[in-house]
C-alpha cells in the first residue's frame, strides 16, 4: 500500500526482497546502504541472529529524489529466508508495493528457489495481493560462483512470465542498483495507473 502525502508532497512505497535462505537479500541492502549518499538514506536496521542470518527483517529507508514535485521515498525490507521463519516472512509482506525475488543461481539451491516462490505466492494471497499482479522483478544472484545454473534454465524454472530479470553478484554490487531501479520504476508506474 503506497502512502501518498499531499500535505508534504511525498510518495512512500514499500519494497520487499524475497528469496531462499542465504541467497543474498541482506547483501543487496548492505551494498545499497554503502553506496548511496548519506543525505538520502536512513539507518540500516538488521534484526539478525548471532550468525548474521536475518531473524525478522532488514530495513533501509531511501529517499530517491523528487519526481514532478513529489519526494519519492522507498522503504526496503528483506525477509528471513530460512524455512522455519515462515510466520515472520508473511508479516513483512504486509502493505508491499513491489517485490524483488532474489534467486540463488547455484545448482543445489534450485529446489529452494522454487519452494521460496511458492511460499511467496501463498503469503501474497494471504495478504489479499494477487501474485500475478504485484510489481515483481527477478534477480539471479551469485553469478560469480562455479556451479551455477544457466540463465535460460533459471528463466524456465523461475520466471515463466518473463518478468524483467537481472544477473547479480551482490557483494560486488553487480546488478544491485539495476534491480532496484527496475522495481522502483514499475512501482511508480503502477502508482500512476492506480491513482
Amino acid at each position: 500500500m503506497s502512502f501518498i502525502n499531499y500535505a508534504a508532497r511525498e510518495i512512500n512505497c514499500k519494497l520487499v526482497y524475497y528469496g531462499p535462505g542465504l541467497c543474498g537479500k541482506t547483501t543487496n541492502l548492505q551494498f545499497i546502504y554503502k553506496k548511496v549518499d548519506p543525505a538520502t538514506k536512513g539507518k540500516l536496521i538488521s534484526l539478525a541472529t548471532e550468525t548474521e542470518r536475518t531473524l525478522f527483517f532488514d530495513f533501509l529507508p531511501l529517499e530517491l529524489g523528487t519526481v514532478r514535485g513529489f519526494k519519492t521515498r522507498f522503504h526496503l525490507y528483506t525477509v528471513p529466508g530460512q524455512i522455519f521463519y515462515e510466520a515472520s516472512r508473511k508479516l513483512i509482506l504486509k502493505g508491499v508495493d513491489g517485490v524483488v525475488f532474489v534467486a540463488d543461481s547455484q545448482l543445489e539451491r534450485m529446489e529452494a528457489n522454487i519452494q521460496s516462490i511458492e511460499d511467496m505466492n501463498i503469503h501474497l494471497k494471504e495478504q489479499g495481493i494477487d501474485p500475478v499482479k504485484i510489481a515483481l522483478v527477478m534477480q539471479y544472484n551469485k553469478r560469480d560462483l562455479p556451479n551455477i545454473v544457466p540463465i535460460d534454465e533459471l528463466q524456465k524454472a523461475l520466471n515463466p512470465r518473463n518478468l524483467e530479470w537481472f544477473e547479480a553478484v551482490a557483494p560486488d554490487g553487480i546488478g544491485v542498483f539495476e534491480t532496484l531501479k527496475a522495481i522502483a520504476k514499475i512501482v511508480l508506474q503502477e502508482l500512476q495507473k492506480k491513482t
Partner: protein
C-alpha cells in the same frame, strides 16, 4: 471492507490528525506520539521528536505490532489491543486503531500507565473517524481516480527515472 490500495492524505487530513496527536500528547503527559501505518510508514508524529529516529521507529513499531498480532492469533485472539513495554526510563504504548493504523506513545515515569490508556482510548475514536473518512474516498481504491496525474505526476518518462537514480 473494500481493499484499500493507497493511503492518500491531504493537507486538511494531516492537520486534523496532528491536532489529535497533539492533544493526546498533552493530556497523557507523554513525550511523543507517533502514528504509523501497518506497513511501517510514519504518517504523523508530535512531541519531543527531535532526537528520535522516527523512520526507524515506524518500521520497528510495525514489525513489532505485526508480530504481536500474529502471536495473538496463534492464541485465538484477533489482536492485542494494547501492547506495553516498560523500561527504566521510557515506556512504550502501542495500540492498533481500526485495524489499520498504529498509535505509538513514548512516555516516561511522569505519565501514569492508566492515564495514558484512558486517553489512548478516547483519542483512538477520533483518529479512527478520520481514517474511516479518508479511506472511504474513491482514490483510496485502485483505479478509481486520476489524482496523482492531475497533480502533475502523470506520464513519467525515462528521463524522470534516470534523474532519480543519478543523484546517488
Amino acid at each position: 471492507m473494500r481493499p484499500i490500495t493507497n493511503l492518500i492524505i491531504y493537507e486538511d487530513d494531516l492537520s486534523r490528525i496532528v491536532a489529535c496527536l497533539n492533544m493526546l500528547n498533552r493530556k497523557a503527559r507523554s513525550r511523543a506520539v507517533l502514528l504509523i501505518d501497518k506497513s511501517g510508514q510514519l504518517i504523523a508524529c508530535t512531541g519531543e521528536t527531535d532526537g528520535l529516529d522516527v523512520t526507524s521507529l515506524g518500521s520497528l513499531a510495525a514489525g513489532h505490532t505485526a508480530a504481536a498480532g500474529a502471536l495473538a492469533q496463534l492464541l485465538g485472539d484477533e489482536e492485542f489491543v494494547f501492547v506495553f513495554h516498560e523500561g527504566e526510563r521510557n515506556h512504550l504504548h502501542f495500540s492498533i486503531i481500526g485495524g489499520r493504523v498504529i498509535l505509538m506513545i513514548v512516555a516516561d515515569q511522569g505519565s501514569p500507565v492508566g492515564l495514558v490508556r484512558l486517553y489512548i482510548k478516547k483519542f483512538s475514536r477520533d483518529i479512527d473517524e478520520i481514517f474511516q473518512e479518508l479511506t472511504g474516498r474513491p482514490e483510496s481504491v485502485s483505479g478509481e481516480g486520476r489524482f496523482l496525474s492531475e497533480s502533475g505526476f502523470g506520464d513519467l518518462t525515462d528521463d524522470d527515472f534516470e534523474q532519480l537514480f543519478n543523484r546517488r
